[in-house]
């Protein structure tokens, strides 16, 4: 089976700043992969290039079999993105926002799809409220609904549970697990929440200063760094402590 994401020698340079430095990775279809790294590690830049919002300086990105430099729109129709840092139009109600994006993605039977998402994400009480008047947790659920409106084959999530209380965060994680298992969707998850990554991700890419400095399953990383949780592995990498070579 072809990869959902295939990145080869990807580099992004802004004048003197090297934001992403020659990274390569693959994400198999149906997998959930974590993209970890401190602030400025290059996670958001990488995601922006996967979404074709940003043109790489060099390298090649293939998403769902499409070369993003040649035919990004074929892939964009089958993927979606959610981030608490990218707000939806605030004056529009939730249902209006979902209709806008449903039309942009040409979703068939849109009203039915909106009702399904409202059922699954408990949005019925919010549909007629302006997006700008929702709490952080409600906004996250609405952003997730927007990102799932087109039943994406690939979902890119940038810190989906930051700013959420533990209860809502857990609800979102449980729902993501359920959705991924049910739909077979591929997920690339950028997060600072190591417990979340351990719970959701089958593979992890560790980024630092624009490079992928380590990768593997959570268990492989824990064993390699001789740690009990990914947070300690994250700190080892951030502070330049070396993995123990088996």
């Amino acid at each position: 089976m072809e990869d959902a994401i295939h990145v080869e020698s990807l580099t992004k340079r802004y004048r003197e700043t090297l934001a992403v430095d020659d990274i390569s990775f693959r994400v198999r279809r149906g997998e959930t992969v974590g993209l970890l790294g401190g602030n400025g590690a290059g996670k958001t830049t990488t995601i922006a290039m996967l979404l074709a919002l940003l043109v790489p300086t060099s390298g090649r990105i293939t998403v769902l079999g499409q070369d993003m430099a040649k035919d990004r729109f074929a892939a964009l129709a089958k993927m979606n993105f959610s981030s608490p840092y990218v707000a939806l139009p605030q004056r529009l109600t939730v249902i209006q926002n979902l209709r806008v994006y449903g039309n942009l993605y040409s979703v068939p039977q849109l009203e039915r799809r909106i009702r399904e998402l409202a059922d699954e994400l408990d949005l019925h009480g919010l549909l007629d409220r302006p997006a700008g008047r929702l709490s952080a947790g409600q906004k996250t659920r609405v952003a997730l609904a927007k990102s799932l409106i087109n039943r994406p084959e690939l979902l890119l999530l940038d810190e989906p549970t930051s700013s959420l209380d533990p209860d809502t965060g857990d609800m979102v994680r449980t729902w993501l697990e359920h959705y991924r298992a049910e739909s077979g969707c591929t997920v690339l998850l950028a997060s600072h929440n190591m417990a979340e990554v351990e719970r959701l991700c089958s593979h992890v890419l560790m980024m630092k200063q624009g490079r992928i400095v380590d990768r593997g399953t959570p268990d492989e990383l824990l064993a390699r760094y001789n740690r009990v949780d990914l947070e300690e592995v994250f700190l080892d990498i951030a502070r330049d402590r070396q993995a123990e070579i088996a």
């Binding site: 802004y14 958001t44 830049t45 922006a48 979404l51 074709a52 919002l53 940003l54 043109v55 729109f73 964009l76 129709a77 979606n80 993105f81 990218v86 707000a87 939806l88 139009p89 605030q90 004056r91 529009l92 109600t93 209006q96 209709r99 806008v100 994006y101 449903g102 039309n103 942009l104 993605y105 040409s106 927007k146």
Partner: protein, 265 residues
């Protein structure tokens, strides 16, 4: 069908903004009606003072007001619809969707047509009621005049949009002033011959000057100046091609420098 659906998605997003805000709806008609009121009384007063044919004087001036408002509203309708996306920091969501850039431009033009109609129709009704000037009396050629002025409004707006992509929200003030700033050399209220000889080539490089020369010929003499219409159309094609090229280059630059991710201020 899918392109039309995506264009409708963009339009629906902006129609929702208007549906929920009566001040925005009022604002669409406010300036055209205000301009019509001022110029209507002014033209009637001057026609009486100088003893010229009131109907022709009012026709020339109010026809000029209505048609210039068509260009201005088309320009603002296009550019401020784009600015709404900048203000709400929504460009990122739009450009990660399958909406093609040309579909976005089509959506902006469609919104511009609706906004222009909301502004110009009330002003035209006011001109008929208060000053007995019926813009439709110009004849079917009116549609060609309006189309040319709307296209001019769009390419000027596309130029402003390109600057916003390049310079961020700081270029916003240009949206409000760019086309209005061309009014003195667009021959809206006076003929090209009233301007200095050295300025006339510049004036005649604008499609609007040819439209208004054509309007004056239609109102004063009942003549359709196809030569002016042809010049207006040809110039619009040339200027619009340049504006599309500028937009495309700035859009690609924004994709290279990351401006689409954080444009907003």
């Amino acid at each position: 069908m899918k392109p039309l659906r995506r264009i409708w998605g963009l339009m629906y997003r902006h129609l929702c903004v208007y549906r929920g805000s009566w001040p925005r709806l009022l604002d669409l008609a406010y300036w055209p009606v205000l301009q019509m009121t001022i110029w209507g009384f002014t033209s009637r007063y001057f026609a009486q003072r100088v003893g010229s044919d009131i109907a022709v004087t009012i026709g020339m001036l109010l026809g000029g007001v209505l048609l210039w408002e068509t260009a201005l509203r088309a320009h603002l309708g296009f550019a401020t619809t784009f600015l709404e996306e900048v203000w709400s920091r929504n460009l990122g969501h739009i450009f990660i969707s399958p909406l093609r850039p040309w579909e976005m431009l089509a959506g902006l033009m469609a919104m511009s047509v609706l906004r222009t109609a909301c502004g110009v129709v009330p002003a035209a009704v006011l001109a008929a009621l208060l000053y007995h000037f019926n813009i439709l009396s110009v004849g079917p050629v009116l549609a060609l005049f309006m189309l040319n002025l709307m296209v001019m409004g769009w390419w000027v707006a596309l130029g402003c949009t390109s600057l916003i992509l390049s310079q961020g929200g700081g270029a916003e003030s240009l949206v409000w002033s760019m086309l209005a700033g061309l009014a003195p050399i667009a021959a809206v209220y006076y003929p090209v011959s009233a301007m200095p000889h050295w300025l006339q080539p510049v004036v005649l490089a604008l499609p609007a000057a040819h439209v208004f020369e054509g309007l004056r010929a239609a109102v004063a003499h009942g003549v359709i100046r196809w030569d002016h219409l042809a010049w207006a159309a040809g110039l619009n094609v040339a200027w619009a091609s340049a504006a599309v090229a500028l937009f495309w280059s700035q859009f690609q630059a924004a994709r290279r420098n990351g401006a689409l991710m954080n444009i907003g201020e």
